[in-house]
Symmetry: C2
């Protein structure tokens, strides 16, 4: 029997998808006009982010499970970046009529798995399924500050340490390998995903440091965001909001670039890209995007796990490397080639 959405229908498809989501800690889960979540301190954090087939992902590279995982993980990171604890998710799925329902079940499984791994107790409490010419997932996440002040982008002050927790440039390095192999040769893609599983996961199923957002807030982070559009562009956002200079260490950035070169070794690949140069690797560290680690500033020492990247200085908003101003560059889904 045909398993596609147009045959199964929206309601029967939802009846198969929803039970896989696990509303966990919700006061009221899916099935009514709205879900109900606890907001223990009388406030709720909320953020939304969409992934659309084409600009944001390719079906040839990402499994439905990975899509669900990534959409969940990147949204959870937005709550973490405020110093918050995620409390729930809702998702709008749009898909072509010929999409097998089992693929949407796999999307749901990926969402549930990412919640279990990164934010146990959190689940998808509501959703919507509609027809569209391409697959897209629009996820909204809620969170609790549990009485703390939110960690804004505007709190960085001269003398603060600039620090980062997570990988930089790895997601972009993985994307570079995927572009080298292309979308046509399924066996070559499978081989790449098998032999470079760790690196590829940085792009296809990332694990942002969700719990560390609260830890950073408790350690006194003065400003924080998750790096999604590239280190320099996102650093420039803290600089602009705070009215200060973020001065990064060229030595530290060079070490990060060396790590990207090391994981990008094309040895043994069926469709190897050109060997990555140090300069190009630095470009991925500075502007590759989709890193989803936490960039934060701290009055004193950065907490364990955060890598000191530089220092906040007085001056007109800017990002510098060893004192030299750099242009904010980063990903723009509309102007990108």
């Amino acid at each position: 029997m045909n398993d596609d959405l147009a045959t199964v229908g929206e309601r029967a498809a939802l009846a198969r998808i929803i039970p896989r989501l696990g509303a966990a800690d919700a006061l009221l889960g899916p099935g009514d006009d709205a879900a109900l979540l606890a907001a223990p301190d009388g406030r709720v954090l909320i953020s939304t982010d969409a992934m659309v087939e084409g600009p944001d992902f390719r079906r040839a590279w990402s499994t439905p499970f990975e899509l669900g995982w990534k959409a969940t993980a990147t949204n959870l990171a937005d709550v973490a970046a405020m110093g918050g604890r995620p409390t729930g998710l809702v998702v709008s799925l749009a898909a072509p009529g010929d999409t097998p329902v089992r693929e949407l079940e796999a999307v749901a499984d990926g969402m549930a798995a990412a919640c279990s791994a990164l934010a146990p107790g959190v689940g998808v409490v509501g959703g919507d399924l509609t027809r569209a010419s391409v697959l897209s997932l629009s996820v909204t996440v809620t969170g609790s500050l549990d009485g703390r002040a939110p960690v804004l982008r505007s709190g960085a002050r001269p003398g603060d340490v600039v620090a980062y927790l997570g990988r930089l440039g790895f997601a972009a390095a993985a994307l570079r390998l995927l572009f080298a192999v292309g979308e046509e040769d399924a066996a070559a893609i499978a081989d790449l995903k098998r032999t470079r599983s760790g690196l590829l996961a940085e792009q296809l199923a990332p694990r942002p440091p969700i719990r560390d957002g609260v830890r950073a807030a408790e350690a006194g982070a003065t400003a924080m965001l998750d790096v999604s559009d590239g280190l320099v562009l996102d650093a420039s956002r803290i600089a602009a909001a705070s009215g200060a200079v973020l001065d990064l260490s060229g030595d530290v950035l060079d070490q990060l670039a060396a790590a990207v070169v090391a994981v990008s070794d094309p040895e043994g690949l069926a469709a190897p890209p050109a060997r990555l140069g140090r300069h190009e690797a630095l470009g991925l560290v500075l502007g590759g995007g989709e890193d989803h680690g936490l960039l934060a500033t701290f009055r004193g020492e950065a907490p364990e796990g955060f890598l000191p990247l530089g220092i906040v200085r007085a001056g007109a908003a800017a990002v510098r490397i060893d004192g030299l101003e750099v242009d904010p560059t980063g990903w723009d889904s509309f102007t990108a080639p």
Copy 2:
């Protein structure tokens, strides 16, 4: 100068769109990784709903302002249907690169205007803009119960009055006129929208009874939902969740059908559809969908403005008209022609 998204870019476009949204009552509005909303009783209602060009709307019929209005109004209705007060919205917009930014500004204006009209103080507190082959809006709404219990679908009990607040079949009657005029003749569409502005607004820019959700809850509604997929199908959801029969009055439904016939008079239209028969009009009342009024059950008398439609009876879950069971029918975006 070209005003399209691909030329202007995501960030510059957002810088033009966000100021039009008016975060109003938010503790923290757009501009950081997440927004912060009040949740005064320590709980938050949340619901999400998407509109995609093609299955959900046609650009030939809906202006961008109307799209923003409708996506907002229909989401607000989901909070109202729980007996809640809306507190905020986030939106994921996806649009082709050749979309003029002024059209997205108009979408934002429509969202802000719907909030002002239907839920003053509420605004769009966050969003996301991404590239896609067609325009879509995915809106998530939050709400507060202000200490009350949510009004679920499961609370209807034998002897309760079934009542409805809003129009039934008008949105579907408007859609019938739009299908008759088609998508090609812009002058005829404009003429239709001018000469039938009230009826067309029921489909293109509806005004669901948002404030009445709280009023119904305070009046002791035992079950409630907003009718989006057709009266019978949505009534069957209350019946199923409550384990009871919703028995509707054929006389009342006939009167509602007569009202649909009256507003559907094709006299003077450039592209008139066939004159609507009473039987077809009853079909629009029972299964037309997109009505977005409130269907509720009450232990005693229905509060002012609610039209009594029938009574809840003991028995296996079903919807009946004058005691005769009817099949739940309604809109399914995947199996619809």
